[in-house]
Amino acid sequence: MRPERFQNRPVRWWSGLEWPVAGLALLLLFNLTFTPGFFHLELRNGHLYGSLVDIINRGSPVVILGLGMTLVIATGGVDLSVGAVMAIAGTVAAQLILRPGFSFPALILASLAVGTLAGCWNGFLVTWLRVQPLVATLVLMVGGRGIAQLLTNGQQIYFEDARLVFVGNGHLLGLPFPVLLSLALLGLTALLTRRTALGLFIESVGDNPRASEFAGVSTRTVKFVVYAFSGFCAGLAGLIDTSNIKSVDANKIGLTLELDAILAVVVGGTALTGGRFSLLGTVVGALFIRTLTTTMYAWNVKSDVAPVPKALAIIAVCLLQSPAFRRRLAAFRRASPS
């Protein structure tokens, strides 16, 4: 993707962000010019409101899923189950909140733990049973929603508990709480990968699994950890989504969000084949997707039509990353010198 030839800077947090940021900037520029009021910000009751705040607020679940997905994809895998895991974790939270006397911190811990457990299951299938990641996570993707419905007995659950509602709707320091949560998770993920050796191992396993194994890296542990972490992220995203709409419908929560998360990772410059990853790239990718959607709302495009530009974005990014496409492009340029 990026020509790193003869570059001798350390790979910093901004490395490789040029393309995703350029895409996002272009989109914002379009809105600045053509969409009146897009950049309008307003302080009401000490809370920020406006399209931009809306983008980062509603983009939070995809940012959070995307962070976990980034690590999974960097090892050369994929996690299709995150949407379903969100449903399970959200359901657990909504169920527990209705139980009188259940302590709130325990509730949060329980739903995050359920998400992590689901991730461990995926990790178990991928590492110990050596099932391909696409297939392994498909199992939970298909069955997960059933489990969630089983927990709720198929009912939609509504709740009013202020603490749980705050998770998805509250404001802190003028910002929506989900935004702060995704920032915190970004920090946590960065810490987890860059302040331990995990990031190095993930990148080496994704880039060259054989050589990593020969250098003594335990590819098994690394893969297991990333699936578990992806499950944790799905749990957190599920909490936010559930809290946001103050109810849980196991059939709807996080539906097709796994695809958005994968898209965010790919747009953010992490290759599907694994290797170098960029957490900030994923964040920018997620915001790009959300901005695209918000822009279309601003232009009164029906939400149902919104997937079309998303599809075009995927194809464009894929082609730009495809060596075969670049070869052809180069051959074409040589053939027609101008």
């Binding site: 199992v139 089983l150 790919v266 599809a311």
Partner: protein, 331 residues
């Protein structure tokens, strides 16, 4: 020469058959009228859309690929036909042909992208899914019933087979069975079909054996696109309706049916017949759960468990039938 011994490849297929038989007999034992003609007919009619889609998915998966656009193409096709027939007064057969042509071309386009630019099938068909779903809503944002006489009379009555006074075999089921037979022949009795198996078995070898790998790959996704579109047509037959939001997630059901039918998700091994049984298994699970008055979510849980079971079974089988000696050879 003696008949071929039962080799490990057939184990999943036999397992599928056993599961199907067990489910059917269990239903018959538990519920008095389970063995009735009506239940059987409903099994085929009610799962015709899934069946048609799953047959397309079988070819794609056999070739070592995956197609996530199935459900979206069904939605697009159904609303396209409904709109053309009801609002633009196009002859139904013409509308159906057009829809089939578009769906087939759509599959071919995805195949060409995957083949020519070496893009991952997963992402290309994901984009295809977004595109088809979005376009479906562009055609018409809400659903539309089809009341044209061809549908009201032709599909419902003239083309349905009256089996006895109360049970009739719907045309949708006929489509499913017909496609199933065509697919059997295509998979087992044509060079294209055999090349698809070879491609999924080992792409490098297939290339070195001089097989037309590029053409086969594109053809596979073309078949997939055609089947998705046909599933959309069948959808309009069964529901008399076009719906841009139809069949969200149908691709997962289709993949599940294929895997439960004994096809290896990594490609190269599998059976169209297995997929047929896989579809009936999914249908039977649904029927049983309805009969048992169990809640609908049990369906997905059971399907998920079956999926897991078959994936593990496949793992064991491929460990058994892997090349006998593949220790690394170095200088």
């Amino acid at each position: 020469m003696k008949p071929p011994r039962l080799n490990s490849q057939y184990i999943p297929l036999v397992a599928t058959g056993v599961v199907l038989a067990v489910l059917y007999v269990t239903g018959g034992c538990l519920f008095p009228n389970f063995f009735s003609l009506r239940v059987l007919v409903n099994l085929f009619g009610g799962n015709a859309v899934l069946g048609v889609a799953a047959i397309g998915a079988t070819f794609v998966i056999l070739s070592g690929g995956i197609d996530l656009s199935v459900g979206a193409v069904i939605g697009f096709t159904s609303i396209l036909i409904a709109t053309l027939v009801e609002e633009h007064h196009v002859a139904p057969l013409l509308a159906i042909s057009l829809a089939l042509l578009l769906g087939t071309g759509f599959g071919a386009g995805m195949g060409a992208l995957i083949q020519r630019f070496e893009l991952p099938p997963f992402l290309v068909t994901l984009a295809g899914m977004f595109l088809a779903r979005g376009l479906a809503f562009v055609v018409r944002p809400d659903n539309l019933g089809i009341h044209h006489p061809f549908y009201a009379e032709g599909i419902n009555h003239s083309l349905a087979l009256q089996l006895d006074s109360r049970v009739s075999w719907p045309f949708a089921a006929t489509c499913f069975v017909a496609l199933f037979l065509v697919a059997l022949v295509l998979a087992h009795y044509t060079r294209l079909g055999r090349n698809i198996y070879a491609l999924g078995g080992d792409e490098t070898s297939a290339r070195l054996m001089g097989l037309p790998v590029a053409r086969t790959k594109i053809a596979t996704y073309t078949i997939g696109g055609f089947c998705s579109a046909l599933a959309g047509v069948v959808y309009t037959f069964t529901t008399q309706n076009g719906d841009p939001a139809a069949c969200v997630g149908k691709e997962l059901e289709a993949i599940a049916a294929v895997v439960i039918g004994g096809t290896l998700l990594s490609g190269g091994v599998g059976f169209v017949a297995g997929t047929g049984m896989g579809v009936l298994i999914l249908g039977l699970i649904q029927t049983l759960i309805t009969y048992q008055n169990l809640n609908s979510w049990w369906t997905v849980i059971v399907v998920g468990l079956l999926l897991l079971l078959f994936i593990l079974l496949q793992n064991v089988v491929s460990a058994l039938s892997g090349r006998l000696d593949n220790t690394a050879r170095h200088g």
